[in-house]
């Protein structure tokens, strides 16, 4: 059997698992592994400028490709810097494996230089974690980490490797074991749904007079969007989406009602509130979706398909719970419909008529006559500029621009919209975009961000220069932290406490300083042309600084404590 040292086993295991991209930052406690990485011909490493960005890049890589994203950092501050990004991946169930260096086992607990209890610090925000106590554990733990991260409800896994386990002078047996041979007696995610429950769900679906299909991010993670679309079309179902579910179903399809929840489209929220059957796939009933749970979907029977049993009846009681993988269960539902010879309920016409009526009465809209550039029209313009293209990926940061993107951008393909939905991490969008670009160099990768969010991880402009990652960054620059500011406008008597960004850097010069291109839009008439110009500069990272209306507010907006359809449509409704 081949003998390799611990560090070489780390790299070889990753190679044998098919890893080709790693994002990371070296340090004393991981330098031996970096030395092995230096001679790897299969793995390309991107040196980030802050460890948080390494994990966001791995996360973006994973969201766009469905593969496990990998990051590598050192002990102590290297590890603690990743915590926000790990939590981001955890909340959105993204498969990421983070390898952290650690001080030698004989120093653990001694407050050694750059020592931190990484497994302890990350414990609440990981799916699982491993601390290697001996070099012989290394390969096994990394394989198990991949297996756990990429199965069941996906999520981040940390493998903490003390320096003595990386010892380049200690050689021992290495064996390539494929993931299919990994077995953990305490971890057996359910794949297939309960047959009886599946039949009940199928029967209810055919019987319902006012059904709604609600889609969550898990559908994308399970690669179940094809099955979902088949089911929706076959049963003529109106489709609503959570923020994480956006892109699972084509945005411009007639059956798609749009985003639900806090800033959901009225049509979508109204249909949810009035449905008699809420057929949910891989959602977790986040508080930003349900509003007041006591008033949630009062007439509906609820079918809940989820791979995580703990998500079922956690927030909203489920009448027909089905635990299983979204793809497998949707296939079972389709089979059950065949078997029971069930098809779309012909009585759905009047339900569709009422939906179309709400669509006509309360379409998504904004003030198109303002002389200031409205953020909504920027999103529409970017969306129009890439309409019909299959190679466009869009990441967002967190704030008004994020919701406007979810509301207005037309997505045709799953995995093409990446956003931090659960944790709401400002600073996610740009490194995530860089991660997508690393994975898919031919793709057109767009980061839609705000002036606040962008400044949280803009140091990665340097990484993008070094590894030639020409992403397109559109900053909806309203000189404010818009999402908080709109709260202050509506509920805090316009007391703009700590939300003014009057001293932003010159983003055009900033782009220039990092060796990129910068463009600015201050007039409406230049919007379309500048967007097209930015997109045409294929080999350049371009920052487009777009000066948008500071006073614009995201509507519709749910009233706190109300039902899901209890929404404000303008400032006057507040």
């Amino acid at each position: 059997m081949e003998k390799l040292n611990g560090s070489a086993q780390v790299i070889r295991t990753l190679e044998d698992l098919g890893v080709t991209e790693i994002f990371g930052y070296p340090g004393a406690a991981i330098v031996d592994i970096y030395d092995e990485l230096y001679s790897s011909k299969k793995i390309h490493h991107s040196l980030v400028r802050h460890e948080q960005a390494a994990v966001h890049m791995a996360d973006g890589y994973a969201r766009a490709t469905g593969k496990v994203g990998v990051a590598l950092v050192t002990s102590g501050p290297g590890a603690t810097n990743t915590v926000t990004a790990i939590a981001t991946a955890y909340m959105d169930s993204i498969p990421v494996v983070l390898i952290t260096g650690q001080v030698s086992t004989n120093l653990i607990g001694s407050d050694a230089f750059q020592e931190v209890d990484t497994v302890g610090v990350t414990r609440p925000v990981v799916k699982h974690s491993f601390l290697c106590k001996k070099p012989e554990d290394v390969a096994d733990f990394i394989r198990k980490a991949f297996y756990i991260a990429s199965t069941g409800r996906k999520g981040p896994v940390v493998v903490d490797i003390p320096k003595n386990c990386q010892n380049p002078r200690y050689f021992f047996d290495y064996e390539n074991i494929p993931l299919s041979e990994i077995h953990l007696r305490s971890y057996n995610p359910t794949v297939l749904g309960h047959k009886g429950q599946v039949k009940r769900a199928a029967t209810e679906l055919a019987k319902a007079k006012c059904p709604v299909l609600l889609v969550g991010g898990g559908v994308i993670q399970a690669d179940a969007c094809g099955e979902l679309q088949t089911l929706a079309r076959r049963m003529n179902l109106p489709v609503c989406s959570t923020l994480m579910g956006i892109s699972a179903y084509p945005s411009d399809d007639r059956q798609f009602l749009g985003l639900v929840g806090l800033h959901g489209l009225y049509t979508a929220n109204h249909a949810m509130h009035n449905c008699d059957l809420l057929f949910t796939v891989a959602v977790r009933f986040d508080d930003r979706v349900t509003n007041n749970v006591q008033k949630f979907c009062p007439k509906a029977k609820i079918v809940h398909i989820d791979v995580d049993p703990a998500s079922i009846s956690k927030v909203i009681h489920s009448d027909i719970p089905i635990v299983g993988d979204a793809k497998a269960v949707l296939n079972q539902v389709l089979d059950a419909l065949d078997e029971l010879k069930l098809s779309a309920n012909p009585e759905l016409d009047s339900w569709w008529e009422s939906i179309e009526q709400s669509r006509r009465e309360r379409p998504l809209t904004y003030n198109k006559n303002s002389k200031n550039i409205q953020p909504e029209e920027v999103i529409e313009a970017i969306s129009n500029a890439v309409l019909g293209r299959d190679d466009v990926y869009v990441t967002t940061d967190v704030g008004q621009h994020q919701i406007f993107t979810a509301q207005y951008f037309k997505f045709a393909h799953p995995r093409h919209f990446l956003t931090s939905g659960g944790l709401g991490t400002m600073g996610f969008g740009f490194p995530a975009a860089a991660g997508v670009k690393s994975a898919l160099p031919q793709a057109c990768v767009i980061c839609i961000t705000g002036d606040g969010s962008f400044q949280m991880n803009m140091q990665e402009l340097s990484t993008c220069k070094q590894y030639h990652l020409p992403v397109k960054i559109f900053i909806l620059d309203n000189h404010a932290l818009g999402m908080v500011r709109q709260f202050q406008t509506v509920f805090y008597k316009e007391r703009y406490s700590a939300t003014c960004l009057d001293d932003n850097p010159d983003f055009v010069k900033l782009a220039d300083a990092f060796g990129h291109k910068g463009l600015r839009v201050t007039e409406k008439k230049d919007l379309e042309e500048t967007i097209n110009k930015a997109l045409s500069l294929k080999d350049d990272l371009v920052i487009v600084d777009i000066r948008t209306d500071t006073d614009e507010i995201v509507f519709p907006w749910q009233r706190s404590g109300g039902s899901i359809e209890d929404q404000m449509f303008s400032k006057e409704d507040a």
């Binding site: 756990i148 007696r185 305490s186 995580d308 049993p309 703990a310 956690k314």
Partner: protein
Amino acid sequence: MRRVISILIENEAGSLSRVVGLFSQRGYNIESLTVAPTDDATLSRCTILTDGDKMEVEQITKQLHKLVCVYRVSALDEEAEGGLERELVLLKIATPNRNVRDEIKSLADIFAARIVDVNPEIYTLQFAGSSTEADNFVSTVCKSAEVMEVVRSGVLGIARGSHSMHN
């Protein structure tokens, strides 16, 4: 409502902190906690006394089961034939004179407790029983003598009848 949850966890570093962390993270209550390796040395058995309604306990057991290090979870009173609970109590009592010693000896007989350590002026008693019995025992002894120290093990639980967590 009071619930006893039994958990089989992988006997490895960090397992217990994941279980305990889950309770504090999600705002669940731990009234008592016991843990020790089982006859299968790779597994530890953990018994947690918590409180919550049916929904909460269901959520607690699901969340526990979701932990990768958790092998089996069982809420005792959910089992077909219910559960059996026991606590161990050690009590250190000042016994300055004969009267007190006699009194303690007779209380020990009544409660089927054992005197496990004897010093000239100190007795240590051992009692095993349900939590209610343990409460009774402790409060009764407190009335008759000066109790210097009380140690309770926390609840141990096992299902009645044929059910076993190891099957």
